[in-house]
């Protein structure tokens, strides 16, 4: 055990047990997983991902490149940030296997078991929330500078949020013995009325206008806090960086400040015999604190005194055995010093990840040998070590120094990026390959692309490039900092938006009946629509053929409530509709409906639907189920931006109405039985007419419209009555064998009639003329897209036309989306002349059929085209797109 007899901020009265890679250990409340492992003399926690070299704990914080672990449901956690809790089970992340000195078998592929109380509860029960907040001042970083800034801001009475990634505020001070000042300051902040302190919360993204994303860790799960701040104070501190030398990656080598933190904060001696290797004053404090903890400081190797650690030695298991020290001149005597701890300091890098994300610019400061903030983005302020004030770190004088030469040896053990296992040799190779920009070297070598984002590697990379190219460090610059600052779990990003809450689910008022009667559903936008209603043991094909037959030969009904519905009111409504739709509406009488088609400005079909004229200044337009929101947006856009003079108001009423479509030759009998006072005969209730009625106290608006080609009525009622109306129709239709049907049958019926579905036959490149619907394009009035129909391209004779296809083998269903070619055995590549848009088996026709968009299709009627499928060409005859009741006898019967 390396635990000191006393000292540190751990609670020795609360011992905890935990398991790492299958072995049980003990630690104390207040430990991190990393400190507890060090206390248990677990020196090797990982293997290098490429070379498999043993690695130890290198830092005491967020910048850790080696000790990455999986706890519960959370992965990519840094052991230096995982708080120890009783029963914690952690597994080293297995890039290419993990090594434990004590139990080398508890390694790669060891099962990951959920922790009872650690990072997660297991079984996916972790709960993540999203929390939104606003404040005047957001202070990021709870060290000396951050606490000071928060105290200042609190004076003004502003809303202040102070956020820190550690379990307690204090930052560096926690390892440096400022306990009284800390306790006093935190007490002041806690008593301030509008100050919120967030710990265990890492600000990982800083976006435009001071939107800051914060990942807050909770015992099981976490919160994604999105804070919008008037002003952001970045008190993000500084990260110590290592010096680079041969075999600088051995367990037992760690950042000097980290060693000090383990002594002072966790009461641990991370070694018995230490060597310190430095280029600055900060290690004076380290040496003093190590000595006070009873650690022998064997040597302080200072490049400013002309000496360097040029190599290291290891025991069999990988742990540090000693260092080789030599004069910088390279020609002096090498001497060996035995040690088990090497504390390295190459100076400090202000932590400017968030600053850079927010588009702050950096500049290199020669005197400090680091990049410091230059131009700050609006309303962002940097304070403390992050601003280049490294006095608190004790950097003092520094001799800029980066890489110890290898004395003629290879550079392949001079590690730059420990997580990515990238060496100086790799950087030199990148430069020899012609890379010059730091961004290119990053991508060539992968420096900084690990989960630690190169926090200990990035600036050293820049310095190596600068030295090799003979350029100033500042001219080489740094790579772009991008969010997230630390790995963030997908669970946190998703929050509650998972499972049933991923996206809204919309159901109609009749939905419970569909569920009770065994409907199979399909998703149409956010709607759940019955797809078909199978009987016992029935597959989709048999069910759909049965449903189609019922609609064509008897009576059937469908829930059409999901149709988009837009209420249009105002004295200029008819003029508005005239401009929106390709056909005219100003001549439609009250009490009648008309099918309408609308185009975008480029002349392409956008949506369609039936428009009802209800009162002189009141209309109701239906849209496709999926297009409802887009059509309303489209109408609003034109109304507000192009035609503000029109007196028209639009409201979505999609959910206000239930729509029961009663379809088939016997539908009139059903309507007659439901509405005894209403004459449903062809003469008094003609095609496209609207009537009001009531049945059993249910108010109903009846429309003689059809999407099946059969005699049909659409019965609308306020959705409150929807289920009652549906059940009433079912009851009356029972003796006639009334059959509920779903969207699949609806599709077959409409396709047999050649009725298009916008978004299925059309794809934003199809004009009404392409569809053979010139009859609906007015020549007498102006409408959106009209001018585009006269463009040369819109009038090309070889445009794709809507046609029908009859497969020569009437059992074959062409897949929707299949490409069409003219020559079944022609040379590759075959010229593609069209594609299948809809394809079904027809009960009425007794064989399969399809709709397709085909180049010059109307001229090819009667010819044969081929769909190449799985290595052979399926032949189909081109036909007119209307397969059934071309004369509309049944519709108008």
């Amino acid at each position: 055990m390396s635990r000191l007899a006393s000292g540190g901020r751990i609670d020795r009265s609360r011992p905890l047990s935990f398991r790492f890679n299958g072995t049980d250990y003990r630690g104390y409340a207040g430990d991190t997983l990393a400190s507890a492992l060090l206390a248990n003399d677990v020196g090797v926690v990982a293997q290098g991902v490429t070379y498999g070299r043993p690695r130890g704990i290198f830092t005491a914080g967020v910048e850790e490149p080696n000790a990455l672990v999986h706890v519960g449901n959370d992965t990519m956690l840094r052991a230096t940030q995982v708080e120890l809790v009783d029963g914690l089970e952690a597994v080293g992340l297995n890039g290419r296997g993990r090594l434990s000195l004590d139990s080398p078998s508890a390694v790669a592929g060891s099962p990951i078991s959920p922790s009872p109380s650690g990072g997660g509860q297991g079984g996916g029960s972790d709960r993540y929330d999203k929390i939104y907040a606003h404040c005047e001042v957001l202070v990021i970083g709870g060290g000396r500078a951050g606490i000071t800034a928060a105290l200042d801001a609190a004076q003004t009475g502003d809303r202040v949020i102070l956020v820190d990634e550690q379990a307690e505020l204090g930052g560096r001070l926690l390892g440096a013995g400022w306990n009284d000042w800390l306790a006093d300051s935190i007490a002041k902040l806690e008593s301030a009325p509008d100050v919120r302190l967030l710990t265990r919360a890492t600000a990982f993204g800083h976006y435009d206008q001071n939107l800051v994303l914060i990942a807050e860790r909770l015992p099981s799960g976490g919160s994604l806090r999105q804070v919008r701040a008037k002003r952001v104070v970045l008190a993000t501190g500084a990260h110590e960086r290592p010096l680079i030398f041969a075999n600088n990656d051995r367990p037992g080598i760690m950042l000097a400040g980290a060693a000090r933190t383990y002594v002072n904060r966790y009461g641990i001696a991370p070694g018995k015999r230490a060597v310190i290797f430095t280029n600055n004053d900060s290690t004076d404090f380290v040496a003093a604190d190590l000595k006070r903890a009873g650690i022998t400081v064997e040597a302080i190797v200072d490049v400013r005194a002309g000496e360097a650690v040029v190599d290291t030695l290891a025991w069999q298991g990988g742990g540090l055995r000693g260092v080789m020290i030599a004069p910088l001149t390279g020609d002096g005597q090498r001497r060996e010093v035995q040690c088990d701890l090497l504390c390295v300091s190459g100076g400090f890098n202000p932590t400017l990840h968030l600053f850079s994300q927010a588009q702050g610019r950096l500049r290199y400061e020669e005197g400090l040998a680091c990049f410091v903030p230059d131009a700050a983005p609006p309303n962002v302020e940097v304070v403390g070590a992050a601003a280049g004030d490294l006095g608190g770190r004790g950097q003092g004088t520094i001799m800029p120094y980066w890489v110890v030469p290898s004395n003629g040896r290879e550079w392949s053990t001079h590690f730059v990026d420990l997580e990515r296992d990238v060496t100086v040799a790799d950087v030199r190779r990148a430069l020899r390959a012609g890379m010059r920009s730091v961004e290119h070297v990053k991508r060539f070598t992968t420096i900084g692309t690990g989960t630690d984002q190169g926090k200990t590697a990035g600036i050293n990379e820049t310095a190596i490039i600068a030295a090799q190219l003979g350029q100033p460090v500042g001219a080489v610059g740094v790579t772009t900092f991008r969010p997230p600052y630390v790995p963030v779990s997908f669970g946190l990003m998703a929050g509650r938006n998972r499972g049933d809450l991923f996206d809204p689910i919309r159901v109609t008022a009749i939905h419970p009946w569909h569920v009770a009667n065994g409907a199979v559903f399909e998703n149409v936008g956010q709607w759940k629509r019955p797809w078909y209603f199978p009987r016992e043991g029935e597959e989709i094909e048999a069910a759909v053929l049965r449903e189609c037959r019922a609609a064509r030969e008897g009576v059937a009904l469908m829930d059409a409530s999901t149709l988009g519905k837009i209420d249009i009111q105002g004295p200029d409504a008819s003029e508005f509709l005239n401009r929106i739709y390709t056909n005219a509406f100003d001549n439609l009488k009250v009490g009648f409906c008309r099918y309408g088609l609308m185009c975008t400005a480029d002349g392409m079909v956008f949506d369609d639907g039936v428009v009802m004229h209800l009162e002189p200044d009141r209309w109701l337009a239906t849209t496709t189920t999926g297009g409802a929101a887009a059509v309303l947006d489209w109408m609003e856009e034109w109304l507000q931006t192009a035609w503000p003079d029109l007196k028209v108001r639009l409201t979505s009423v999609t959910d206000h109405w239930s729509d029961v479509a009663v379809v088939g030759p016997r539908s009139r009998d059903v309507v007659r039985a439901l509405f005894p006072g209403l004459d449903p005969s062809r003469e008094s209730f003609p095609f496209m007419a609207i009537r009001e009625g009531e049945t059993g106290g249910i108010p109903v608006r009846l429309h003689r419209i059809t999407f099946s080609g059969e005699l049909a009525y659409e019965l609308w009622t306020p959705s409150w009555y929807g289920l009652a109306l549906w059940e009433a129709v079912m009851a009356v239709g029972q003796p006639l064998g009334i059959t509920p049907y779903g969207t699949e049958t609806m599709h077959v019926l409409r396709a047999e009639k050649g009725y298009i579905i916008c978004g299925q036959e059309t794809d934003g490149t199809v004009t009404p003329q392409d569809l053979g619907m010139s009859w609906i394009v007015s020549k007498k009035k102006a409408f959106i897209g009209q001018r585009s129909h006269r463009r040369t391209d819109a009038m090309r004779p070889d445009r794709k036309h809507l046609v029908g296809l009859l497969p020569v083998n009437g059992d074959v269903i062409l897949p929707e989306g299949a490409q069409l070619i003219l020559e079944p055995n022609g040379a590759a590549p075959a010229k593609m002349v069209g594609h299948v848009t809809s394809s079904y088996r027809s009960a009425a026709l007794g064989h399969t059929f399809a709709l397709a968009m085909l180049q010059s299709g109307r001229e090819r009627v009667g010819t044969t085209v081929y769909a190449p499928l799985n290595g052979h060409a399926v032949a189909a005859t081109v036909t007119d797109p209307i397969f059934y009741d071309k004369e509309n006898v049944r519709r108008d019967s």
Binding site: Q209, D602, D633, E636, E637, T641, Q786, R787, S788, R791
Partner: protein
């Protein structure tokens, strides 16, 4: 990005839908313009680096359309 809706005030950009370039007038008499002029209106829009007049609609709010000037480099928004 915060977008100032003239009716609702500053709101998050997720509440809005982008409407492309502002100040593109619908030709007063589409029937009289030639193909090239019409194509320019339908298909061509400015794409400057710097200040750009844009249309936005507050879809998840008041549903009103409005114009603003946004700097495409800095996202700084100024009144039209």
């Amino acid at each position: 990005m915060l977008i100032p809706c003239p009716w609702c005030g500053d709101r998050e950009d997720v509440e809005f839908k982008y409407g492309g370039s502002a100040q593109v007038a619908y030709p007063s008499d589409p029937a009289s313009v030639d193909d090239a002029t019409w194509a320019r209106f339908v298909f061509f829009r400015p794409n400057p680096k710097g200040k750009m007049a844009e249309r936005w609609v507050h879809t998840a709010g008041c549903r009103r359309w409005f114009n603003l000037v946004r700097d495409t480099v800095t996202h700084e928004i100024t009144p039209p």
